[in-house]
Structure formats: C-alpha cells, structure tokens
C-alpha cells in the first residue's frame, strides 16, 4: 500500500530558515541588553521571545496542520496566564505597604561582639 509523504515533511529548507530566524531574533534580543534603552529592553526581548515561540510552534511543532483544534490548545495556556498575571496585579499594583522598604536595605552585618574569642 502506498503512503503519501506529508508534503511539509519533504523538504529541510523551511526548517533551516526557521532555525536561522530564531537565532537572528535571539541576537537582536541579546543586542538590546547592551544598548542602555531602559524599560524598552525587556519589552523588545520578550517580544522577540514570543515571535520565536510562534516560529517554533508553527513550523517545528507543526501547529499548521490538522487537527485544527491544536491552535486553541496551544493558545489557551498563554491565555490562561493572562488571568493570573492581570488579575493578581490588581492587588500588587495598589496595595499599601508594597513593596516593603526592607527589600532594598543593605544587609545587617554580623557585629564582631557576636563572636567572642
């Protein structure tokens, strides 16, 4: 009985291109860390992470093909995290006494008298 090879599995080139793209995006990410652009650096870096994830998901993890339900499964993990991140921040963003000042305090050094000879 003849089996048809899945056409998306016939060539290596698309995957090599994807591999290169992820590396290039990683390089961009790495570069932004040294530019001194403040809060934009993590925004760009995690943006790169998301784009890299989409490339790996769609290409390497074959999210494109059937069953199409995979898309919903793949997205729902991230979607559910929005609940955790967003709603928890309703507390942290405006709680009195947070963050505690002690976090930035320099550490208390052991006094010499604690170690009597």
């Amino acid at each position: 009985m003849r089996i048809e090879v899945d056409p998306r599995r016939a060539k290596a080139l698309p995957f090599a291109v994807g591999w290169a793209a992820v590396i290039v995006l990683g390089g961009v990410s790495l570069g932004t860390a040294f530019l001194g652009i403040g809060v934009w650096a993590p925004i760009i870096q995690f943006g790169m992470s998301f784009i890299q994830t989409v490339i790996v998901y769609v290409l390497f993890m074959r999210l494109k093909g059937p069953p199409s339900l995979k898309w919903i499964f793949a997205a729902s993990g991230f979607f559910w995290l929005l609940f955790l991140y967003g709603i928890t921040m309703t507390d942290y963003s405006n709680r009195r006494g947070w963050p505690p000042p002690s976090a930035a305090a320099p550490p208390v050094l052991e006094t010499p008298s604690a170690r009597a000879p």
Partner: protein, 555 residues
C-alpha cells in the same frame, strides 16, 4: 418504579457476545495492569473510598473533641487533625471522586466509544494518585502537618513543626494525577464521539466532566508550581515567599487560591452533571433549558478563575482588588443559580419517583442552594470581614462539598450501581440512608452557621463554654451522618452477592450507556452506535422514552 421493566428491557438486550468487563480475565495483573477504563474506575473507587474513611476518622476525632470545651485532644494534635482532614478530603476524595470513578466508567459509554483516548495514561493516573497517597499517609503517620490544608506562608515555610514538606509533596504529586485524568477526558470528548453525537447532543454529565477537565488542566499547574516553591523554601531555608528578602507571603496565597478556588468548582461541576442526569430520568421529562445548562457549566468553569482572592479579603490585599473580586464572585453565582432554577423547573409536570437517586438529587438541590446563598453572603465584603475565619465559612463550604457533592456522589453510586455491577441495590435501605444523610447533615452543619455568626473561630481546639450546646448538637448530627454514610457500604456490599440481577436499562433511561448489558462487556460496544437524538427524550404524559439512538420504548 421500574420493577416491571426488567422483562421489557431484556427484549432489547443485545446478544451476549462478550463476557462482562468484570469476568473477562481475573488475575491480579489483569486488574493492576488493565487498560479498561471501567476497571480503572473501580480501582479509583477503592482508593478514594479508603481515603474517605481516613479523612472521616480525622473529622470524627475533631467533632468528638469539639463536643465539649475541654475537648479530648491536645491542641497541637487537633491542629494536625484539621489539617490532615482538609488535605485528605480535598485532594484524595472530593477532587477525584466523581471524575475518576463515574467519569472514567461512563464517559466512553455515554459518547459511544470503546475506551478513553489514552488508556495507559489513565492507569498511570491511578498509580500516581496512589503514590501521592502513600506520601500523605507517611506524613500523617509520622505526625502530620499543622498548617491547615492551605499551607499559608510564613507559618508553613519558616515556623511550622510538622511534616509540611511531605504533605506539600503529596499535594504536588497528586496534581499530576489530576492532570493526567483531565487531559484524557478533554481529548476523548473532542475526538472519540460516536457518529451523530454532536456537542449539543452530549448528556450533561459529559459536559460536566468536560468543563471540570478544562478547569483541572488549567488550574492545577499553578498549584504544582506553588507547592514546589513551598517545598523548596522549606527545604533550603529561603525562597520566593521570604519576607526577610522582600518576598511576599501573600504570593503563596494568590497562587494557592488561583488553583484552589477553581478547585472547589472542580468538586461541584461533575456533581452538577450527575444531578442533570438523574432529575430527567426520575421525573420522566426532559431537562429544562439544555443549552442554558451547558452555557452555565462552561461559564462557571471560566468565571471560577476570576474570584480567588475572596479567600483573602482580610489577608491584607489592596481594597480595590478586593472590590473587584467581590464583584466577580457575585457574577459567578449567576450561572449556578440558573442551574438551580432549571433543575427545579425540570420537575414541573414530571412523573416523579422518589427512589434513592432522586432523593439524593433533590437533597443536592436544596443543600447546594443553601451553600450557594451563604457563599453570596461571604462574597459581600463587610460580612466577610466579620465572619472570615469562623464556623460560618466552614458551614458554607461543607454545605457545598458535603451536602451537595457527596450527595451527588451517592446519587451517582445508586443510579449507576446496576450498570456497574449488574445488581439492584435494596431500595428501602437506600431511601432510608438518603433521608438519614439529609437529616444528619443538617444537624451537623446548620448549627455551625449560627456558631460562626456568634463568632466561634475555626481551627481552634476549644471555644467559650456558652457555645457548647450548638457544638454538641453538631457533633450529635455528625454521628447520624456517619451512620448514613456507613449504611450504603453495608447494603451495597450485600447486593453484590444477594442483590437481584439487573438488565441493561432498569431505570428506562435514554443514554447510550443503558443500551448495553449490565455489567458492560469489556469493549463496550460491539459496533459503534449512531446517535440521532438529543438526550433526555422522556415523555411524562405517555410514560414513554426514546433513546439517543432513536429507539422508542412505550409504557
């Protein structure tokens, strides 16, 4: 009801081509290495029944202690009792209860499949569950944890003297069992439905299991991470909850309740599914508002993720955050209320039989309503400030978890007993047990609403002497409840040997599970059924019904 249908039903009985799943092979390894979802359901049944009694023993000691203010137990022992009672009842009984037993047994049958999508994952789930059970028993035997089942930091990380690490690891491992089971159900319901079994023709029990599986799959990982971080911090000495280093002790609570609030819906959604099966069958009429019931189940599942910090109103969170959570908690009550209305209306113009499953189901509706309404009281910020940490909260959640869920569990047990075992249970004893459960339950827990309102604190081994009469009443009620829970063990056990044999459809119900022999053959269906109708096609006027495959049965 239903006494004469055995003969009539046997006319439709499919020819015996396979031995039943119980007799197919009877070596120990054929049970311990089975891939049959029905046998795995029985394995789970054995495990959770064992833990129900362990958790119940802790409760017995607690209620004996609370019968008098002087008590019975040392305070530190009492603390370990309520902790272990909570941990064991929540993770080792309630959360697995209906999904791993009736879900495992009936989901393939109800959708017309020969097994779940991943039978080995199913068996693996049972082994992981037992592994977590061994760890929690180790923790219990060695002296237990005393932090409360909620493991609040910094008590659990820095100050508690008990087997917190072991208890937390037991919960951590238990989570994997939940995830394996829920994953199996989600994929099975998506992919293995018989031809014609569209989503809107699924029995509501299947929808209940589907919605609970979505919640389990998405909520449990947060608990897994939280308990892992707790274990690391306890083991290493510092971590992400350590206030000495700017960590937030409330972060533990946020992540814990992000899971544990949906967890309480994990405990009720399958129960709601069971009740939606039983009420149509014993009122002999279709459920009112099938689509609304489906939407309500999924709405409860999703909304349950938005309300968790109502457990933290007095913990020190931002007041604006608290208002948000209070509002969301009011919203989540709406779909639950819709379900209660629909169950009630489903009785209208029905031809009702008060058999044991129906008695448990009606008890469920009443007790769930009381629990739900008191939940709304707790959602109200000013009320919660007053009664948080009192017996009012305890009464509220026991009305739901014990009054509702355990009633539904017993309802399911009786309803499906003939299908699982091929035997009838003795109806008289079962009705008596159902009524005794209801009476015992209310005597146990209603006084606790009063005690909570009066100000009695929870998690305390003693209380002011003025409140003894209420406490004594509650403990007396608990003894009645204990009898009511023990009785089914006796008469169901009796029925296994001496019970009257049952045919395929003793209750004249419409689901696919009633189209095959009782007990079912090993591979369920000889040929895959074709579904043409929505469920619950009962006609109360003529006493007839039509199965989901389209076969009519006259009175």
């Amino acid at each position: 009801m239903s006494v004469t249908t055995v003969e009539r039903a046997s006319a439709d009985e499919p020819p015996e081509t396979e031995p039943s799943y119980l007799t197919a092979e009877n070596t120990i390894s054929s049970w311990l290495l089975t891939r049959d979802h029905k046998r795995i359901a029985l394995l789970f049944f054995a495990s959770i029944t064992f833990f129900f009694f362990v958790g119940g023993m802790a409760a017995t000691l607690m209620r004996l202690n609370l019968a008098t203010p002087e008590g019975l137990l040392q305070p530190s022992v009492y603390n370990r009792m309520f902790t272990m009672h909570g941990i064991i009842m929540v993770w080792f009984f309630l959360i697995p209860s209906i999904p791993t037993t009736f879900g495992n047994f009936f989901i393939p049958l109800m959708i017309g499949a020969r097994d779940l999508a991943f039978p080995r994952v199913n068996l693996g789930s049972w082994y992981v569950f037992n592994l977590s059970g061994l760890v929690v028993l180790y923790s219990l035997v060695m002296g237990g944890a005393d932090t409360g089942w909620t493991f609040y930091t910094p008590l659990s990380t820095s100050f508690a003297n008990g087997y917190v690490f072991a208890a937390a690891m037991a919960v951590f491992i238990n989570g994997f069992s939940s995830i394996m089971t829920s994953l199996n159900f989600v994929v099975t319901i998506h992919r293995l439905r018989a031809p014609g079994m569209t989503w809107m023709r699924l029995p509501l029990f299947v929808w209940g299991i589907y919605s609970v599986s979505v919640v389990m799959l998405t909520a449990t990982p947060v608990l897994t991470m939280d308990t892992f971080l707790l274990a690391v911090e306890r083991f290493v000495g510092t971590g992400l909850f350590d206030p000495a280093h700017g960590g937030d002790v409330l972060l533990w609570q946020h992540m814990f309740w992000f899971y544990s609030h949906p967890a309480v819906y994990i405990m009720i959604l399958p129960a709601m599914g069971v009740i939606s099966e039983i009420i149509p069958c014993y009122a002999r009429r279709p459920i009112f508002g099938y689509a609304g019931m489906v939407i309500a189940l999924m709405a409860i599942a999703i909304l349950s993720f938005f309300v968790w910090a109502h457990h933290m109103f007095v913990a020190g969170i931002s007041i604006y955050s608290a208002v948000f959570f209070s509002l969301m908690t009011f919203f989540v009550a709406v779909p639950s209320a819709i379900k209660v209305f629909n169950w009630t209306v489903s009785l209208h113009k029905g031809s009702i039989s008060f058999d044991a499953p129906m008695l448990y189901a009606l008890g469920f509706v009443l007790l769930f309503t009381v629990g739900g309404v008191t939940g709304l009281m707790l959602a109200t910020l000013p009320v919660d400030v007053d009664v948080h940490g009192t017996y009012f909260v305890i009464a509220h959640f026991h009305y739901i978890m014990v009054g509702a869920t355990v009633s539904a569990y017993f309802a399911a047990l009786h309803y499906w007993w003939p299908k699982i075992t091929g035997r009838y249970y003795p109806e008289g004893w079962a009705r008596f047990s159902a009524i005794l459960t209801y009476v015992g339950f209310n005597f146990t827990f209603f006084p606790q609403f009063i005690l909570g309102y009066l100000g009695m604190a929870r998690r305390s081994y003693t209380y002011p002497a003025d409140w003894q009469s209420w406490n004594l009443l509650s403990s007396a009620g608990a003894s009645i409840l204990a009898v009511a829970y023990a009785l089914p063990l006796l008469y169901l056990g009796w029925s296994l040997i001496w019970g009257r044999k049952a045919g395929p459809n003793p209750w004249r119900a419409t689901g696919l599970e009633w189209a095959i022999a009782s007990p079912p053959p090993e591979h369920n269906f000889e040929r895959t059924p074709t579904v043409t109708l929505e469920p619950y096609s009962y006609d109360p006027e003529h006493g007839s019904f039509v199965t989901q495959e389209g076969r009519s049965h006259a009175r």
